[in-house]
């Protein structure tokens, strides 16, 4: 085949390509640069064991939001902007008002400096709502060779190749489904695929020698890419830009797997040799595989002019897209207006008494409701918002397990490994291991033929019983890892005093808990609860890598109660009152219960617990009115229903998760203390006055702000296109390799959130807008951090989120636009 293609340029007419200008043969170095650019655009996704929210477009952060929307539209055939039906519903229900729209238009004209749209009329914006949605098939796309082949022959080869690649990657990354595993080559994914491909019987019409061709390719993916280039693609005279977008398109046809490969690659770089697995696979391997499949379809009849041609959107389609974008801006303006109107400056001056209790929650939007309700109950209780791992990046190795879970943001390395202890560790350990291995043995027996036949015959009837119990919600089909052992607690004795003090100091300092500590300080981690749900991790704490945050809370409370640690902290200048006691617990976000670990038998503490109990009931009623519909539930039946949701194996929406999140408010709690933010804001405590060096602000803007952007963009993209950027309809999900899902029979690996998590009856439930970050800090301080960190500056200046500075002194708000700050109120109310 190689030979045949070598002759090809003679038969391809070059359509008058001007060699000097458009043709630049990718030299080795430039090819490397291209590959580097392409691979940097893929964001890792974590598998279902640590399912954290990821901004799928984070790799594009150095490009303007609108340009990326255009590019994605061409690459993936979907326009990531809110739909007309959603927008008109918001407009006609007055949630987006005319003034918002006018203001958005103004912002847009200032923002884009696009004079073609200077005379865009207001009526045109309204007319947009009634125009027909452009079907995604009509959007002009960037084509790879299989795309061209499909267009030529009316086939579905691109999907076929996606499924083929998906088959190989599923076999390569399988973590426990199959008992017969793909034999892995130590050189990684590409070599494994190449060596096994010859037995596969994959055929392409009119290309009989493809298998032979693959056999002759080198084992190194980089060399393969280069070879295919010099051999075949060079002759097509692609410009460097075209080569780049061509690779991008290739990766987008296997987007889900690409993000998983990227994750493994990312972890390899982060942890280096510490990892037990040594797998050199990088995205180059996947590109090489997909590229090899692609050139199988190279033949003369294809219209190469259409290959990898990215033309920025133009004409009518562009106007349509820009108006759609203006509507997004208007929706954001309306949200900002709503928040600004609510913000409260009255309580800021109140002198601080010592609170009875302080409760720290995750910044998660689901904490907002419970915090508000608790504070309503008592003036004596303060709540604090902080990233849910409470600043202690730990790895938790549970008793009897060989390997730990990371309980910290996925971008961080855990600093220490914590284990569990109990009174009879040996016995418990044996019990746990035995239980696991027993289940493992049974699972394997079910997959081998003879035992599966006999087990079905003899034990089949027992599944009737299991099914009945599951259906009644009495048991879950899951292995309940937690319930295997009661009475366990974290073991902090083996950890050196120094690391305990360091962790404790950092946590208290960053939380602003270095002074005015109450009598009780309770840290609440959080986690969801669901049954039969592959994406359980998506309901858990993202700051704890998709796990329950209770362990971090417990760990922190434990070290802070340690006498020695307190003494050392005193030396460092943090004095903890003698009567202050630290507690921990966790917020079950599915049933909205607060579980406190080791309650204190004390009158005051009981009083607090009673208040909390009241607050929880209110919170339940508020949080779940949306979930359960308009039925007015009695508290008891509500509790029952919530419990049922968390335990029922047929529930596809145990809770709404972080849906409807719209803002991240960084500042003193007094600003929002009495304000109803409807569980839509991430709340992070920050006091400018205690942060002269801007260390805390820097931390907030480089860590939680990135995380909230990831969450926000995940919900954004999954809502707009649950099929392409989400996990689609949950009733079709099919767990692959025990670590992810595909849709139906075959598909690419799914990433993002399911339709059930973001939509209700086919309509958006989550409102797709970009994150509005309110920071109570002076504009120069914010600018300083933005300029210091390229990642932050890229996100901000390319409009991946909006930053608003809260000026407490003048009670005003400034929006950062194109490196400038504009006063919001003025523009808003005029």
């Amino acid at each position: 085949m190689a030979k045949k293609v070598n002759e090809m340029p003679k038969t391809i007419t070059l359509h008058g390509n001007n060699k000097e200008n458009s043709y630049c043969a990718p030299q080795n170095t430039s090819l490397d640069l291209i590959l580097e650019r392409v691979t940097s655009r893929i964001t890792p996704t974590w598998d279902t064991r640590d399912y954290v929210a990821v901004n799928p477009l984070f790799g594009y952060r150095n490009t303007n939001f609108l340009e990326v929307i255009d590019r994605i539209q061409k690459l993936r055939g979907t326009r990531l902007l809110p739909s007309r039906s959603y927008l008109s519903q918001k407009y006609w229900s007055q949630q987006i008002q005319d003034r918002d729209l006018t203001y958005a238009l103004m912002l847009f004209q200032g923002l884009e400096r696009n004079h073609d749209f200077d005379n865009l009329e207001f009526d045109q914006l309204i007319a947009f709502l009634d125009q027909k949605e452009i079907p995604s098939d009509d959007l002009e796309k960037v084509n790879c060779l299989t795309d061209l082949y499909d267009q030529e022959n009316q086939t579905e080869e691109t999907i076929k190749v996606t499924n083929e690649v998906s088959k190989w990657l599923a076999a390569y990354y399988d973590q426990g489904q199959s008992v017969w595993r793909l034999p892995k080559n130590p050189l990684g994914l590409y070599a494994t695929w190449k060596n096994m491909f010859r037995f596969d019987g994959f055929t392409v019409k009119n290309n009989k020698s493809f298998v032979e061709y693959v056999k002759r390719l080198p084992n190194n993916p980089r060399k393969t890419i280069e070879l295919i280039f010099t051999d075949l693609l060079d002759k097509l005279l692609l410009s460097e830009e075209q080569v780049e977008i061509y690779f991008e398109r290739l990766l987008f046809t296997v987007f889900g797997w690409a993000t998983l490969v990227k994750k493994y690659d990312f972890e390899n770089q982060l942890f280096g040799n510490k990892l037990k697995r040594q797998d050199p696979t990088t995205l180059l391997h996947l590109i090489a595989i997909r590229l090899t499949y692609d050139v199988a379809y190279l033949n003369e009849s294809l219209d190469f002019e259409k290959l990898a041609n990215f033309v920025p959107i133009e004409g009518k389609a562009k106007t349509d897209m820009l108006i759609n974008y203006i509507w997004l801006l208007a929706d954001e303006v309306a949200v900002r207006r709503m928040i600004v109107e609510k913000m409260n400056f009255k309580h800021l001056d109140s002198s601080k008494r010592r609170p009875l209790a302080q409760m720290a929650f995750c910044i998660d939007v689901r904490s907002e409701v419970i915090r508000r309700e608790i504070e309503k109950k008592s003036e004596e209780i303060e709540t604090i918002g902080f990233a849910g791992f409470f600043g202690v990046p730990i790895a938790l190795k549970k008793l009897g397990f060989d390997n730990p879970d990371h309980q910290c943001p996925v971008l961080l390395k855990p600093v220490i490994e914590v284990t569990e202890k109990s009174e009879e560790p040996e016995k418990l350990m044996r019990k746990r291991r035995a239980e696991f291995l027993k289940r493992y043995g049974l699972k394997n027996s079910q997959q081998y033929s003879h035992s599966s036949f006999s087990l079905a015959e003899s034990f089949g009837i027992s599944y009737a019983w299991k099914m009945l119990l599951n259906n009644l919600g009495l048991t879950k089909p899951n292995y309940e890892f937690e319930n295997l052992a009661d009475g366990l607690e974290l073991d902090i004795e083996k950890i050196s005093l120094k690391s305990k003090v360091d962790l404790a100091f950092n946590a208290l300092f960053n939380m602003g808990l270095t002074e005015n500590l109450g009598k009780y300080v309770i840290f609440f981690g959080h986690g969801g609860e669901s049954a039969n749900n592959p994406y359980q991790g998506a309901l858990d704490c993202g700051a704890c890598a998709g796990h329950n945050g209770r362990y971090n809370a417990e760990f922190l409370a434990k070290i802070l109660n340690d006498e020695n640690v307190r003494n050392e902290l005193n030396v460092k200048g943090v004095s903890i009152p003698v009567d202050t006691h630290f507690c921990s617990g966790w917020h079950n976000t599915t049933t909205d219960e607060l579980n406190v670990h080791k309650k204190i038998e004390d009158k005051e503490f009981k009083k607090i617990m009673n208040l909390v109990e009241d607050a929880v009931s209110k919170c339940k009623a508020e949080r779940f009115s949306n979930l359960i519909g308009n039925k007015s539930y009695q508290l008891d039946s509500l509790k029952k229903e919530l419990r049922a949701r968390s335990r029922n194996w047929s529930e596809t929406r145990p809770e709404w998760g972080l849906a409807r999140n719209h803002s991240f408010i960084v500042g003193r709690r007094e600003l929002t203390r009495t304000v109803d933010l409807q569980g839509r804001s991430f709340l992070h405590d920050y006091n400018e006055r205690t942060d002269p060096d801007l260390l805390k602000l820097e931390l907030i803007m480089t860590a939680p702000m990135i995380v909230t952007n990831w969450i926000n963009m995940q919900y954004y993209s999954s809502t707009i296109d649950p099929e392409k950027f989400g996990t689609g309809n949950k009733v079709l999900n099919n767990v692959v390799g025990t670590i992810g899902c595909i849709q139906g029979n075959q598909s690419d690996l799914l990433t993002g959130l399911s339709e059930q998590s973001v939509r209700l009856n086919g309509n958006y439930f989550h409102e797709p807008i970009r994150l509005q970050v309110f920071i109570e800090a002076k504009t120069p301080s914010i600018d300083k951090i933005i300029n210091k960190h390229p990642m932050v500056s890229e996100l901000v200046s390319n409009n991946w989120l909006h930053i608003i500075s809260i000026d407490v002194l003048h009670e005003s708000f400034k929006l950062r636009l194109k490196n400038k700050w504009i006063d919001m109120k003025e523009a808003l109310w005029n």
Binding site: D47, R49, K167, A171, D174, Q175, G176, Q177, S178, V179, W180, M196, F199, D200, F202, F401, D405, A434, F436, L437, R439, Y440, G441, S445, Y448, S449, H450, S451, S452, F453, S454, L455, A456, S458, F459, G460, Y463, A464, L468, K476, P477, F481, A531, N532, P534, Q536, N648, W649, S650, T652, V731, L732, N733, V735, V736, G737, T738, G744, N745, L760
Partner: protein
């Protein structure tokens, strides 16, 4: 009593109707009454020894439209309505968000009703009609997301395979009617021995036999008519549960119904045994390397149906019924709980289970000891070698015990499953033989020429499968092994 049977057959549909029109009360809670009803009725028929019959009208003595619940159909119907009500209850929440959910629930209820109608038919003609009806509603369920290309392809393939099956059964009916002058199951079973041993109409009986075998092969996803089954995952999970647990085994049910007839045609049973053995081998072999849960379960169903067909072909109808029922519960549960399989991934991270393969000699020794033990234990537990297919079935049971022993890393943990496996196996066997005494054919069995060959080849097939699956990594070191692996991964579809 008759009215109760009728009510029970239509019970899923009634529940569905009530809960969709009268919202004030949760009627779905009542769905369990159907299971209880069928259970009690089955118990009564077993106790009385008489089936419950409802006859609506009879065109003549030969074509009777009516239903009859005997122990056989009673046991299977109880299973089906149990699974049906589980699936209905599951779907209620699972599809709460679906825009066409009421249609979906209706179709599910209709499908279950048609299966029940079919199982309790007195007459092959109506059995066939209700079979077509089941297939019709299943088709609608497979097309629940008819905008999905995959769903349309799967439904189409299933449609044509099912229509082929319909034609085969139709041919069977025509031929049988010519011979027997009736299509009532009672006539077909009672007169079979007399007519066939008379030697009258050997051609028509041959045609009936061949088309019956082909018909059940298409309906129960036997090789090579299995290919559509793994592609039907483009429909909500409960449909898969219902299909794999309640519908796919209808072919086996018909074979058992027609047991007395088929027993007169040793070649027909022999071919079922071969087809079943091959299908079981094929399905198990492919399942080994499947990477997603639903496809893995689909190949599991194929292999289990093959094994069930093998049991039928060997004449071991009693055990085949045990298998149909047990597999139905097992498979329905597996599908409905398939979202929990991510726990395996977690477990594999927490506890690194040593991935070492047993040593070369282990499977031989363990298998040998286990098989011998089971062979000795069988007669002791009341399972005589005169029972049809005893040797093969005991061989498989022995290898199963060996496999369970090998699969457990902690060997002592395998003792309990193995002993209970054996005890329950024989208890269920004795229970079902007692319950179906009289209504099921259990003749003594003499191995004859051809059958010896078949027994040996099926035995070899199962032993080699046992050896293959205990040497998977060793096999992969050879090129042939890698070839086989890819064949398995592709489900034998590509290349």
């Amino acid at each position: 009593m008759n009215l109760i049977l009728l009510l029970l057959i239509f019970f899923p549909r009634i529940i569905n109707f009530l809960s969709s029109y009268f919202k004030f009360y949760d009627f779905r809670g009542l769905s369990f009454l159907g299971v209880v009803g069928f259970g009690i009725l089955t118990g009564l028929t077993i106790a009385w020894g008489d089936p419950v019959n409802i006859i609506f009208f009879s065109v003549s003595d030969s074509i009777i439209f009516g239903f009859s619940l005997d122990p056989l159909s009673g046991i299977v119907s109880t299973t089906v309505i149990f699974i049906g009500s589980m699936v209905m209850r599951f779907s209620e929440r699972y599809l709460a968000d679906d825009l066409n959910k009421s249609l979906f629930h209706q179709n599910i209820a209709n499908t279950i009703c048609f299966v029940l109608l079919m199982l309790n038919s007195m007459n092959l003609l109506f059995f066939w009609l209700f079979w077509v009806g089941t297939s019709y509603y299943l088709h609608k369920l497979l097309l629940h997301f008819n905008e999905r290309v995959g769903a349309r392809i799967a439904a189409q393939e299933k449609f044509w395979v099912s229509r082929m099956g319909d034609v085969f059964i139709l041919i069977t009916m025509v031929a049988l009617y010519q011979v027997f002058g009736s299509l009532n199951f009672s006539v077909l079973t009672q007169d079979a021995e007399k007519l066939i041993s008379d030697g009258s109409n050997p051609f028509l009986i041959g045609v009936a036999g061949v088309s019956l075998v082909l018909g059940v092969m298409t309906k129960s996803a036997q090789f090579p008519f299995h290919f559509w089954l793994p592609k039907t995952m483009e429909t909500p999970t409960p449909v898969s549960a219902l299909m794999h647990a309640g519908i796919i085994n209808a072919g086996g049910f018909l074979v058992i119904r027609m047991g007395s007839f088929l027993n007169q045609l040793p070649w027909a049973l022999n071919s079922l045994a071969i087809v079943g053995g091959v299908t079981a081998f094929f399905g198990s072999f492919v399942m080994l390397s499947q990477t997603n849960i639903k496809r893995s379960l689909a190949y599991s169903t194929i292999s289990q149906m093959g094994f069930m067909m093998l049991q039928c072909g060997l004449g071991a109808f009693t055990i085949a019924i045990v298998h149909i029922v047990g597999h139905a519960f097992y498979k329905a549960h597996s599908f409905l709980s398939s979202g929990s399989v991510t726990d395996i991934g977690k477990m594999n991270r927490y506890v690194s289970a040593p991935e070492c393969e047993p040593m070369l000699w282990t499977p031989f020794v363990v298998g040998f000891v286990s098989v011998i033990t089971v062979f000795l234990l069988g007669p002791f537990l009341g399972y005589s070698y005169e029972k049809p297919g005893a040797v093969i079935l005991l061989l498989v049971l022995g290898l199963a015990c060996a496999q369970i022993f090998i699969s457990h890393k902690i060997k002592s943990a395998s003792i309990l499953p193995i002993t209970s496996l054996i005890v329950i196996y024989f208890s269920l066997y004795h229970f079902v033989s007692w319950a179906l005494e009289g209504s099921l054919l259990t003749t003594a069995y003499n191995l004859e020429g051809n059958q010896v060959v078949i027994h040996i080849s099926v035995g070899v097939l199962f032993v080699s499968l046992y050896l293959i699956q205990n040497n998977l990594n060793r096999i992969l070191k050879t090129e042939v092994g890698q070839r086989l692996y890819i064949k398995s991964l592709n489900g034998g579809e590509l290349g």
